[in-house]
Symmetry: C2
Subunit: 296 residues, 2 copies
């Protein structure tokens, strides 16, 4: 069985026509062969959406949450609504076709399609995951970087697409290069008015006493699928969970911090802007074991 699987959707949205009328809903293709037109707005304008989903022992994790968020991103970009049944089937078929393994990942991409064509382009790509065991135990050093936006732009200026998972991720990549220049592994974004937001591909969660918290909603940040599961785990241990708007100083005063995301799962933060901080190894280990096994 293959190490990677690419499946192309014939009809990513019921609001648009099939690409190949009468053909099957899903076609497996060679990921090494070009599949995207140069005039596809996904590549010419970064105009599309995606989700990256963890696969644990052959099961997609937080699948329905990812699908809901995919639909919400589509809405924020005024894209045709994804046919979630078709996408769910494509995700499951790609996982089934993939060589079995303990940890894998699936990425769904829907673009606005070729300019003027009116049909979104959609595909699902699945592959085995890299080994993240070291980063899950030893953690990451992070740089705090200005995202440039106030914390409330999602409400005041929705056209800035904050909170949507779009293909326009050049800034999310540029901040990792800036972090590397500063000797850090990852980034926590701070709003221009001084609030902690999220990582470029992760949510921030932190422990204070017997509570697990996250900067939460309404800040133009993603509704984290892994963050939601971290809360479920914490609640199962009788811990308090909640969302708080907080400053970097307040974050630094917490007992432990993690960047949590699909695929990499929970990476403890072991330094912020060069200042070392305690890593809660026991909680990290239990959390990652639980996240690897969770099927909600």
């Amino acid at each position: 069985m293959p190490h990677e699987v690419l499946a192309l959707l014939n009809r990513p949205s019921m609001d648009a026509a099939e690409h190949h009328p009468g053909e099957p809903a899903l076609t497996f293709a060679d990921a090494a062969v070009a599949q995207v037109n140069v005039l596809d707005l996904g590549v010419s304008r970064g105009d599309g959406i995606f989700e990256t989903i963890s696969v644990g022992n052959g099961k997609a994790q937080a699948l329905e949450h990812h699908l809901r968020r995919f639909a919400r991103s589509a809405q924020m970009l005024d894209l045709p609504a994804p046919d979630l049944d078709a996408w769910r089937q494509a995700i499951l078929a790609a996982i089934e076709a993939l060589e079995p393994g303990e940890e894998a990942w699936v990425k769904t991409v829907m673009t606005r399609g070729v300019e003027g064509d009116g049909r979104p382009t959609g595909w699902v790509y699945a592959a085995q995951s890299a080994d993240f065991s070291r980063v899950r135990s030893e953690g990451v050093s992070v740089a705090l970087l200005d995202r440039g936006y106030r914390h409330d732009v999602e409400q005041t200026s929705p056209w800035l697409l904050q909170g949507a998972k779009s293909l326009s991720y050049a800034v999310n990549r540029a901040v990792l290069r800036e972090a590397a220049r500063r000797g850090a592994d990852d980034v926590i974004f701070v709003s221009s008015d001084g609030f902690v937001l999220e990582g470029p591909t992760s949510s921030v969660v932190y422990r204070r006493g017997n509570g697990i918290y996250s900067p939460g909603t309404g800040l133009g940040i993603l509704d984290g699928t892994t963050q939601a599961n971290v809360f479920v785990f914490a609640q199962s241990l009788g811990m308090t969970t909640g969302f708080e708007r907080l400053t970097p100083a307040e974050l630094a005063a917490s007992d432990a911090i993690w960047l949590v995301s699909s695929v990499r799962l929970a990476a403890p933060v072991r330094a912020i802007d060069g200042v070392e901080r305690p890593v809660d190894g026991q909680f990290s280990s239990a959390l990652n074991t639980w996240l690897k096994a969770v099927f909600v």
Copy 2:
């Protein structure tokens, strides 16, 4: 001769290896056939750069300015430096292969390439232009929209890539949909601290008395190739030209305003946020005639 031409570069940058060792520098391809890998960071992350160049009667306009800006965008994104000689040759070859016509356009795209591969992907696409005569005379109505960033983020937070022409243009598309919802044709971005910036695919220029001005440099906006030529035209008429940081109220008090860009050239602004304003038809006409013919 074809209505559209696609040419793929074998070696977009001398800092990276050829895609097809020993093969020609340029390959013509069918633009209707997929040419981009789903794992190309250009589509998966909007991680790449572009330029769109006017072609007037078979001649690329402001070519060296576009190439300089392409190289600057690459630098801002930490991409390998484009081999400007190879790009220039590709642009000229694509124009030569295109069916002759009065007005055409060429787009250059360089992406970071397939993740982990290390070789940027590069292509040039050329096609005949649409007929913009009506918009050049009648003008556009614009909505002022918050860009969310302070005017100085290019200096304080270069990782936000303001001033680079990147493929991550989902916001530049979203603002046009927001403008349409407001009954407007186009957009002028305003910084979060209240300064006029640029359009999503154009520069703002305006006339006050015998002077032609633009919001100018250092504001995280593009170094406009057409704006530069507008200044050359104005200077040839003995007019003053210059850059000014200004507010929307100051802009509204000017005698005439244009959104200027490659391909569409100078579109007079006939309304801002629903308030009609004078269009300088005579200057617009002379300017567009000159811009269509210019070869610098």
